[in-house]
Amino acid sequence: MADRLASWRAARPTAGGLADRLRPYRVILAARARAQLQYRASFVTDILGTVGVGLTEFAEVWIIFHNVELLGGLDFTAALLVFALSNIGFSLADMLVGHLDTLPTYIRMGQVDAFYVRPLPLLTQFMTSDISLRRVGRFAVAVVALVVALTTADVRWSAAKVVLIAVTIVSGTAIFSALFTAAGGLQFFFVDGAEFTNSMTYGGSYAAQQSQRVFPDPLRVLWTFVIPTAFVAYLPTLAILDLPGDRLAPVWLAWCSPVAALAAWLAAALCWRAGTRHYQGAGG
């Protein structure tokens, strides 16, 4: 551990060296993006596909509120804000590191070995090994929903709320990225564990889209303190719309999303480390 800390310290970039340090990743990502943009027609189809996914998710919210006024203490506008924030976080994370859940394929192809013989940290190599530009479709739907929700809702604007929205988007993306990373790490143990890890990532995303009050208490504790997706959208929505919280969701908790993101990342890093250690231990 001390050794690892020392190497992190040694690897910490100086102000001038940062661009230099990030250059390998920039070159890889640019090449990945070019490869995806190369086939216009298929890229456009892919984007339409992810727009479709976003719209389907939205339809679910719309249909529910077509039939009920309030669900879990949220009206349609509030639910739309929850939908928007969670989808922005999820689609950004999915775009950046969603490919970590294809790790079993990498392992079977022996691609993991190629990563080991390159002079870069494994996790950053995996994270930057691809970028799914097509997921911009779902992101776009979510952004539109955010704008609609914030303009139709009766928001008492303040500088603090603008900051809160920005912090929420960053933390939400970080939390979902951590889930993908943890899922990737766990898949070193269960090469066919995609079902299990999907329940963390996609299940977490589903939970993030709901009012927490529709869940029984044990699940609320799970979504707040174990897989912290309540921080992605529900808690910030309470704070932005000045809605009352409750004992499991005090409104001030909305400001703690960076802490939740940090905790999620610590757990994710541990999963990842254990996973790569296990791979080295068990062979490929």
Binding site: R34, V117, R118
Partner: protein, 320 residues
């Protein structure tokens, strides 16, 4: 970072001491102790599953040893994987390190960036390798469209971009046609002549060993079964050459030719395969003896086959 760039010059570039690696039910590498000096060219041979790939994975920091010591370029590959990666080039024959959906030149550019080569220096190195390996026409083609031979040359160029001290090739010529093998070997010889790169290669092809390797390591069930020159190996196991003789008429088995053993009789004795040890007799003497018996129409000489050599080592050590 803290180690001098030529830290390996003092000691061996590869060193293992009592290296052991266990898998669930088997011991893949069993107390392997080997030292390879910088500049050597070593063939690492053995049957499938003998422990070659496991050794390479431990040398490159992919696998943790169960016990024993492993040092690559003087470094512990588990703790200093990134530094080892900077100083070694590795090609896993069956696995690509290239980006299959990108044009080949992009793979080179990306790897140059990964190794933080200065752009001008990278361009010169890529140009030189592309020129030597005659890959110019393929540079714009996506990697997935390359032939096996073209891809293997590209893999080796990719592994050599950063001018590593040590090049590890796992089955570099497997599946290649004769001409592609030839070109690859010539390139490797030239690279070694120019830069003195240490080479460790695993192969099933005796031709690779004969052309490229000054030293042979044979591994059997994880243990070092032989360490020496190719000639020494042939002497040790008495690797035999085989004379294939086509006769004008069906002839009985040529069982009494001195210093030979009949391996096979085909077509009622029209073709016979005689094995002989080069240290005991010569092809000419065998041919003369056969000619005294029957009329020879055609002949061919087969060199020792690596599988045969390995089998004989196993037989000599009491295994099957």
């Amino acid at each position: 970072m803290t180690s001098p760039p030529n830290g390996a010059a003092a000691g061996p570039i590869i060193e293992t001491v009592d290296l052991v690696r266990d898998f669930k039910r088997t011991r893949a590498v069993d107390h392997l102790s080997v030292a390879v000096a910088a500049g050597e060219s070593v063939g690492y041979i053995g049957a499938n599953g003998a422990g070659k790939s496991t050794t390479i994975k431990m040398l490159t920091g992919i696998l943790q040893p169960t016990s024993g010591l492993v040092r690559t370029c003087g470094l512990d590959p588990m703790r200093r994987r990134v530094d080892v990666a900077r100083r070694t080039g590795v090609v896993f024959g069956q696995r690509s390190q290239l980006w299959w959906d990108l044009p080949l030149h992009e793979s080179f550019t990306i790897l140059a960036a990964i190794h933080r080569l200065e752009p001008g220096q990278a361009r010169a190195r890529i140009e030189r390798l592309v020129d030597q390996l005659e890959m110019g026409p393929q540079l714009a083609a996506p990697v997935r469209s390359l032939s096996l031979g073209q891809r293997m040359r590209a893999e080796i160029a990719a592994a050599l971009l950063h001018e590593p001290e040590l090049l590890i090739l796992d089955e570099p010529t497997i599946g290649l046609d004769v001409l592609s093998k030839q070109r690859l070997r010539e390139f490797l010889l030239e690279e070694r002549r120019e830069r003195g790169t240490t080479l460790l290669l695993t192969t099933h092809d005796m031709g690779d060993i004969e052309r490229l390797c000054g030293r042979v390591l044979v591994i059997d069930e994880g243990r070092l079964a032989f360490d020496g020159t190719l000639a020494g190996l042939a002497r040790t196991v008495g690797a035999r050459r085989v004379l294939v003789i086509d006769l004008a008429e069906p002839t009985g088995e040529l069982s009494d030719i001195p210093h030979t053993a009949v391996l096979a009789v085909e077509g009622d004795g029209l073709r016979q395969r005689l094995a002989f040890d080069a240290s005991e007799t010569t092809a000419a003497a065998v041919l003369a003896a056969v000619s005294a018996r029957a009329q020879v129409r055609d002949l061919a000489i087969e060199e020792p086959d690596i599988e045969d050599v390995v089998r004989r080592i196993y037989a000599a050590s009491g295994r099957g």
